[in-house]
Symmetry: C2
């Protein structure tokens, strides 16, 4: 039986592919693994039935036979471990790819979420205009460090891996802000991720939920 993931019934970003189910869809497409999707309203996401699967009442979840997972990083790593194409065979390179997954969600995404919280949750506050540059600067520091490490390489460490998948997905959260285009190397890196056929299929699938048109 195919695994089932959960996603927003009404995409909060109008199908721009920024919700976290996109990371899991992309990984499944890279792996060539068909999957089912269970769509959830915002209310259903916070209801006890979904909380039983996801303690924090969010998407995505991942169900495969009697296994239930609930965090995009954990799900992507699970997929990467059970299919070819997302983790190198060499043990050291594999450990480094996993470290990049954690760097994406714990070092790069943290200031990006703080930036998005400011934009989405504090736009009407008296401090918004004065505080935003501080938060933007925290994001820029991380982007600069990441860009320095990437240099002219195609991917973060050798061939494309689950580390790149998570990093590109995290960086894409910045697309609406225009910040991504300030660094040519990172912009090209993200564009390489988006150009992958697996990304394209995943993007089309999540967009179809919003437009109501299948494949």
């Amino acid at each position: 039986m195919n695994p089932t993931i959960s996603a927003f019934e009404s995409s909060p970003d109008r199908g721009r592919g920024l919700a976290r189910d996109m990371r899991v869809r992309w990984a499944l497409e890279e792996a060539g693994q068909p999957y089912e999707v269970r769509l959830l309203s915002f209310a259903a996401m916070k209801a006890p039935a979904h909380r039983a699967l996801h303690p924090f009442g969010q998407i995505p979840t991942y169900q495969e036979d009697d296994l239930v997972l609930f965090e995009s990083g954990g799900i992507v790593l699970h997929i990467a471990e059970h299919h070819a194409g997302l983790l190198p065979a060499d043990a050291n390179a594999r450990a480094r790819a996993i470290t990049w997954m954690f760097a994406a969600v714990n070092t790069v995404e943290v200031p990006i979420i703080e930036f998005q919280n400011a934009k989405l949750l504090e736009r009407d506050k008296s401090w918004y205009d004065e505080r935003l540059p501080l938060v933007v600067e925290r994001v820029r520091v991380r982007l600069g460090e990441l860009s320095d490490r990437l240099g002219d390489a195609e991917w973060l460490d050798g061939a494309f891996s689950a580390g790149d998948l998570m990093m590109v997905a995290v960086l894409l959260r910045l697309r609406p802000s225009g910040m991504l285009d300030e660094d040519a190397r990172l912009a090209a890196y993200v564009a390489r991720g988006e150009a992958r056929p697996a990304y394209q299929r995943a993007f089309a699938a999540q967009l179809a939920v919003f437009t109501g048109r299948s494949g």
Copy 2:
């Protein structure tokens, strides 16, 4: 040869065990793996030689023969995969433990870092007093959800795992704020983590850097 980790030469938290090397020390102690420590000044941490190991100029790093890792989550998972005691043998339970590692750093730690940024970086700002309750509330929501899931269980999913190690370490960042003690279940959960002999050994080792007294 024993692996070498890096840590702060001058502990910013005066040896309270809140720096991220603590997570790696604890995992190594759980694994029974001796290790060496390379201490870094703040300047050395941002210098090119260290940046070659850690793109974001932080601690901890992990060096083992020709493998270099740089993110606490990635390092702890690497240790957990190569030693007994931090991941269950059952494949599904193992995937769930890893999902809890990601939940710790990407769902629970994110608002905690935002809270700490407010306390450490924005204390002198005009908006500090008015904004802080908003940020505190974001943390409380996550803590409440985590507490609901934990319930009366000893650990998050069966036996103690790397998922608990990361979660306890993340929650400990809240200790100075007093917020941890607002929830009896979470406070007891963290106390169980701290009571583990491996935690105690790791804590003593990081404290010795600050006090200048070895073991």
